[in-house]
């Protein structure tokens, strides 16, 4: 079966939105997915909460703590997503730290991903060599795309290595930093993204970390196929009515 990421990955101005499962309330998962899709997001990253998210800034830390407090777990997430593909056709990736997946059992995890209709995974602390050594076959046999990162410090050989290993898209970090800090539209980020574009990588790339509003979204979309918004979205849905806040958020980014 075709991976849904392939259907959208070559579009322009792709908006991929991250939210933490179990936040703001335990059972919001399905609602948030439906509302994001209805309002025109192109891809969704569902965060699996972990107690010690070392690559995340305060916003996502708080959301994951709250989600764990609310009772969220990976098993519960799969239960919540059981009928996902009856109401949704948007590409969905699960994003989380490796320990939670490791405890769940990586094979069990992939089996559940496949059954649920998950298209990809993003695991920030599972580096390429560990993935290749133990898990690559398992993911590939089940057509689950594991997404890798590139940062401004990644050298050209490593970029090519990552491009070769990647399916779907490459997650490009706007800067070497934790999540939730705003990017600055500086010469250095322009040079970096222009350089990446000029490499003609075999995978499209989406830019993440520090994209928070229409301005920064449009800015990076000049160089990339799209962008990922996490912390800013998590903040936007913290309070109030989900229907309204998600509609406003996506429309504001996507308006022409």
């Amino acid at each position: 079966m075709e991976n849904r990421i392939d259907v959208v990955k070559n579009k322009k101005n792709i908006l991929s939105v991250y939210f933490t499962a179990g936040y703001p309330s335990l059972n919001d998962t399905e609602t948030i997915i439906k509302l994001l899709e209805e309002n025109g997001a192109d891809m969704i990253e569902v965060g699996i909460p972990f107690s010690d998210p070392t690559a995340d800034g305060p916003t996502i830390q708080e959301s994951t703590n709250k989600a764990i407090e609310n009772g969220m777990s990976l098993q519960l997430l799969f239960n919540q997503l059981k009928s996902l593909r009856q109401y949704s056709n948007i590409p969905i990736l699960l994003m989380g730290y490796f320990n939670v997946i490791y405890q769940f059992g990586v094979e069990n995890f992939i089996e559940n991903c496949k059954k649920t209709g998950i298209d990809g995974t993003i695991i920030p602390d599972l580096p390429l060599n560990e993935y290749n050594k133990d898990y690559k076959r398992l993911f590939e046999e089940n057509n689950i795309y594991n997404i890798f990162f590139i940062s401004p410090e990644t050298n050209i050989d490593r970029i090519k290595e990552i491009d070769n290993a990647s399916k779907g898209f490459i997650y490009v970090l706007s800067a070497s930093q934790t999540t939730g800090k705003n990017i600055s539209e500086s010469k250095s980020i322009e040079t970096y993204l222009t350089h990446l574009k000029s490499l003609n990588l075999s995978n499209p790339f989406l830019v993440g970390f520090g994209i928070s509003n229409k301005q920064s979204f449009d800015y990076v979309c000049q160089y990339a196929n799209g962008a990922i918004i996490g912390s800013a979205f998590v903040k936007a849905i913290a309070k109030g009515n989900l229907e309204e806040s998600i509609k406003n958020f996506v429309n504001n980014i996507k308006k022409v």
């Binding site: 972990f50 830390q61 490796f98 320990n99 580096p127 560990e130 940062s151 070497s176 934790t178």
Partner: protein, 391 residues
């Protein structure tokens, strides 16, 4: 020197480098260069000089006669508490700061639990004129207040970790975030045998000076080439790794780790990782960690801030699997009792961490002709407030 780690950073099934891609260039650079640098002649000469004239090494191996009499065996104390800054942590801090300098880094960050590693790092940074930031759990800052002031006096900025259990684990999380945000100029000076490869191996090698000295001291003091037992406390496991290192491949030496049981293994307030933990990935490496069935890291408890950590070093986890090392849980109460006993029998007030190692004496039977080495990893000055509650 024996090599316990393979090229990918694994000690048996444990270790590795589970790091975000942002840290890859930094960690790779360290992996590719650390052995060459720490084995170079000028590094060795400079570190040796510092350890001798600044730290005061070798630390004595002291025959504790009154304690020996009480337990009807021969007890020797390796006196890391007599080092400058009051613990074994300085061995590692000086080694790594020299390494950081050679790697061209200008800013040092560190985590600390009891504050001993923080103080050692602040000291080394002052000595080398480098900017230093130490992350410390808010709760640890309260219970180890004198060490916070010491770091500040040494010119280091101490930043409280306010998330999670507000102890060592959370200080490491904050230090890792800082590292991610400042990967170019910053060297992360990890204080224990943990973190992504090469840190567990690097810290182990720098702490191995403890057992290297024992190779000659044991012979001088006991007339035998090796001891029957070596006992050390284990949080992350740096003092244990250091005092075991040169005896790991000697099957005749029994290695004993004292783990912090807190209020008791079943109490829910414990840090006895090998008894309560399972295999997982935390802080960039695979090891035995205390976690829920869902893979969330559990909050630990120990009266001793330095043992309040939900994981152990990968080498020690591997030694446990291979039955080369036993782990014995010691409660807060038992540690306090052992701390008072050493104070009153030998006139040495040990750190609460080291008191856990001493408490093993009540848990095991030793023969009259056996030689036992206990590593006194630090002195008790920082713990006086806690001890005073039991006076």
């Amino acid at each position: 020197m024996d090599n316990f780690v393979n090229d990918e950073g694994y000690f048996g099934a444990y270790g590795g480098a589970f790091i975000p891609e942002i840290l890859h260039p930094n960690v790779k650079h360290l992996q590719n260069n650390y052995l060459q640098i720490i084995n170079s002649e000028d590094f060795k000469t400079e570190l040796k000089d510092l350890l001798k004239n600044y730290v005061g090494r070798p630390s004595p191996l002291y025959h504790a006669k009154r304690l020996s009499e009480l337990y009807k065996t021969n007890i020797y104390l390796k006196r890391e508490d007599l080092n400058h800054t009051g613990s074994h942590k300085i061995n590692n801090a000086l080694g790594q700061i020299l390494l950081a300098k050679k790697l061209g880094k200008t800013r040092i960050i560190a985590e600390t639990g009891a504050g001993q590693h923080g103080v050692a790092t602040a000291t080394a940074a002052a000595l080398f004129g480098m900017k230093c930031i130490v992350y410390m759990g808010e709760i640890d800052m309260q219970r180890q207040a004198p060490n916070v002031k010491r770091m500040q006096m040494l010119g280091t900025e101490v930043i409280p970790a306010l998330s999670g259990s507000k102890t060592l684990k959370d200080a490491i999380n904050e230090a890792m975030r800082d590292w991610i945000n400042n990967s170019k100029d910053t060297y992360y000076l990890i204080g224990s045998v943990m973190g992504p490869h090469p840190y567990p191996d690097l810290v182990g090698r720098l702490q191995a000076i403890i057992s290297e000295e024992l190779l000659t001291q044991v012979e001088e003091e006991t007339g035998k080439a090796y001891p029957d037992y070596i006992i050390a406390c284990v949080g992350g496991g740096s003092n244990a790794t250091g005092v075991f290192y040169h005896f790991i491949n000697n099957d005749k030496v029994k290695l004993i780790c004292a783990e912090a049981a807190g209020q008791g293994i079943e109490s829910g307030f414990s840090a006895a990782t090998t008894h309560l933990g399972s295999v997982g990935i935390l802080h960039g490496f695979k090891t035995i960690i205390m976690q829920t069935k869902d893979g969330q890291i559990e909050e630990t408890h120990s009266i001793s801030a330095g043992l309040d950590y939900p994981g152990i070093g990968p080498l020690l986890a591997d030694l446990k699997d291979k039955n080369k090392c036993s782990f014995i849980p010691i409660t807060d109460e038992e540690a306090i009792k052992a701390g008072f006993l050493l104070s009153q029998k030998e006139g040495i007030i040990p750190a609460l961490e080291s008191a856990h190692a001493l408490a093993i004496l009540d848990k095991m039977q030793f023969n009259i002709d056996e030689n036992i080495i206990i590593n006194i990893s630090g002195r008790g000055d920082k713990d006086l407030e806690t001890y005073f509650k039991y006076l």
